[in-house]
């Protein structure tokens, strides 16, 4: 019969001489041995990880150091820098607002294009498109995302602007203008928004959709009222990242938005953004250690701070989003 007596605890300690021998060999076997090779590899890998820290330190240190130089220039002070509406280094006016303003305008236009279209396209791809259509459309959007920004700049300058001028009249639309830059930037960012949102929508478990269908919901109801809310934080993260991309974008604005700071709210006028300014100054022949030159570090620092904040926000959101379904 399968019944067995359950052995009382007291008998444990009895170990016969034979086994003392056997187990001591075994224990010697269990003993740790140093593995120097593994140690060394681990050290090297740690160094690799630490390189990124050095990079950040480098950025913060260099930008800080040079910005400090900039702010030590007699003509410059921080308050004026942040509130001034004129940027004319030649006459000692260092107000950053025209640059910021232009950045915000291009960003705004870009977002007006990219966010709604990107999200709608994402919904189409993840909810409506047949697997075949999706397999065909997605790589195309990825191509769009992989095109270098300088190409978009070219496109804005040589196609979009002339087109706008034809439609709206060349009096209203200047050759360089923030609107055209923003529009093309929107097209450039659209695939990013679409792809990230689509990932978020895709991460919503099929089960959730089936649940909705199973209760007699239509496709649109399922998509808008169940899937999108479930992916919301992922979508918002995509949006914020898109904003950050727009703020940091250089080549489109450098080519199409115009050179020369201009404090204007008219999107059809030329205005230089922060990034555009940096690119122009550094590309030109301004000598080291002039206030002009140093100013790019101050503006770089501002840019770094803004995008960093946006990125952290976006990452926080998508981290929260990841926790929901595991």
């Amino acid at each position: 019969m399968e019944q067995e007596m359950f052995r009382p605890t007291q008998q444990t300690q009895a170990i016969s001489p034979f086994d003392v021998h056997a187990s001591s060999a075994l224990i010697a076997n269990l003993r740790k041995r140093p593995r120097w090779g593994e140690r060394f590899i681990q050290g090297f890998l740690f160094f690799c990880g630490a390189v990124s820290i050095l990079t950040t330190l480098g950025i913060v240190f260099e930008l800080g150091k040079e910005s400090l130089l900039f702010f030590q220039t007699p003509e410059v002070n921080l308050i004026e820098f942040l509130t001034g509406t004129k940027w004319q280094p030649t006459i000692g006016e260092f107000g950053v607002l025209p640059l910021v303003n232009a950045t915000l305008m291009t960003t705004l236009v870009a977002m007006l294009v990219a966010l709604p279209l990107g999200l709608a396209a994402a919904i189409y791809l993840s909810e409506y498109a047949s697997p075949k259509a999706r397999g065909f459309l997605k790589p195309i959007l990825e191509i769009l995302a992989g095109i270098p920004t300088v190409v978009y700049g070219y496109f804005a300058l040589t196609f979009m602007t002339p087109l706008l001028r034809t439609i709206l009249g060349s009096e209203t639309v200047q050759i360089y203008n923030t609107f055209s830059a923003g529009l093309v930037m929107g097209i450039m960012i659209l695939p990013l928004v679409c792809s990230m949102s689509e990932d978020a929508l895709n991460a919503v478990p099929r089960a959730l959709r089936e649940a909705a269908y199973g209760m007699g919901a239509t496709k649109l109801e399922t998509a808008l009222q169940v899937v999108v809310p479930a992916a919301l934080s992922g979508i918002i993260a995509a949006f914020i990242l898109a904003i950050s991309r727009a703020v940091g974008e250089t080549m489109i604005v450098a080519l199409a938005a115009g050179s020369g700071p201009n404090f204007t709210f008219n999107p059809f006028k030329a205005a230089e953004t922060m990034t555009g300014y940096i690119a122009r100054i550094s590309g030109g022949d301004v000598g080291y250690d002039t206030p002009d030159y140093n100013s790019i570090f101050a503006i770089g620092l501002l840019l770094f701070t803004i995008t960093l904040a946006l990125n952290i926000l976006s990452r926080k959101l998508s981290a929260r989003f990841r926790e929901v379904y595991e």
Partner: protein, 262 residues
């Protein structure tokens, strides 16, 4: 017991000569099955024999798989639900479904239940409906103070009962369950089984389960499916659960039930 939508001797739903295909592959063949109203019917069988395929056809859930199609008839109130003039959205409202893994919407408990009713055009008092559905699903006492909290904060077993409550809120006649307890621990599983028993006084329940013991414990009727030589699923035996588990008529059923195979 509530009003009787069925005439005596009528089946809740009936499959007639049903074949189901994925593309060219016949996943299930020649199923004839009559489901008794207000009873629990379990579908058991080895993996891949087409249990999920069949149960998902009861409310046209397989429409969502592009390659899937069906021959034969599925009669519900005398109407073939696969007729071209039948609206699958309507079918799914009347024949609800509960899934393998608890899948509450990432909304509040209240909203989880209210949503389905709302999209289906429910106009009554929503609070009452929510309370009633939760009570039916034996969940009210556990959540009545936290209706506004996220449904995802509930335990697995509670989530699954919430999914049942949500299905009840759209007032279906039949509830389909595809391995509703496979993600739950034994105690939560037994709770769901008790709940099913309660619900079977008012609803027709069809459950697919991998767990023979669960079919034995929780169902009134059992259908045993297996795979034919051509890998198509067939129904081997269908009868009262007590008979299937003590005196199965078919050798294949006996072998499966007793843990031996072919």
């Amino acid at each position: 017991m509530t009003e009787t939508p069925f005439p005596n001797n009528a089946y809740a739903i009936e499959l007639r000569n049903v074949d189901i295909f994925y593309g060219n592959f016949r996943a299930v063949k020649d199923i004839n099955l009559q489901i008794e109203p207000r009873k629990i019917t379990a579908i058991i069988g080895p993996s891949g024999c087409g249990k999920s395929t069949v149960i998902r056809c009861f409310n046209r859930m397989n429409d969502l798989v592009p390659s899937a199609h069906l021959n034969g008839e599925i009669l519900f109130h005398g109407k073939n639900i696969y007729d071209p003039d039948v609206d699958p959205v309507q079918v799914r409202r009347l024949i609800g479904m509960v899934f393998q893994k608890p899948n509450p919407f990432p909304k509040s408990i209240y909203e989880n239940i209210a949503w389905g009713a709302r999209v289906n055009g429910y106009r009554g008092n929503m609070d009452d409906l929510v309370e009633q559905s939760l009570r039916q699903a034996a969940l009210w006492d556990e959540v009545k103070d936290t209706l506004k909290k996220s449904a995802l904060a509930l335990s697995g077993g509670q989530q699954q009962r919430l999914c049942i409550a949500r299905t009840l809120a759209v007032r279906p006649e039949i509830i389909l369950m595809d391995e509703p307890c496979s993600a739950l621990d034994p105690i939560a599983t037994l709770k769901i089984e008790d709940l099913m028993r309660e619900l079977s006084t008012q609803y027709t329940i069809i459950i697919v389960t991998h767990n023979m013991q669960q079919a034995a414990r929780a169902s009134d009727f059992t259908a045993f499916f297996t795979m034919d030589t051509d890998r198509a699923g067939i129904m081997v035996e269908y009868g009262p659960t007590s008979q299937i588990f003590t005196r199965p008529k078919d050798k294949r059923t006996e072998d499966y039930i007793t843990g031996r195979f072919g």
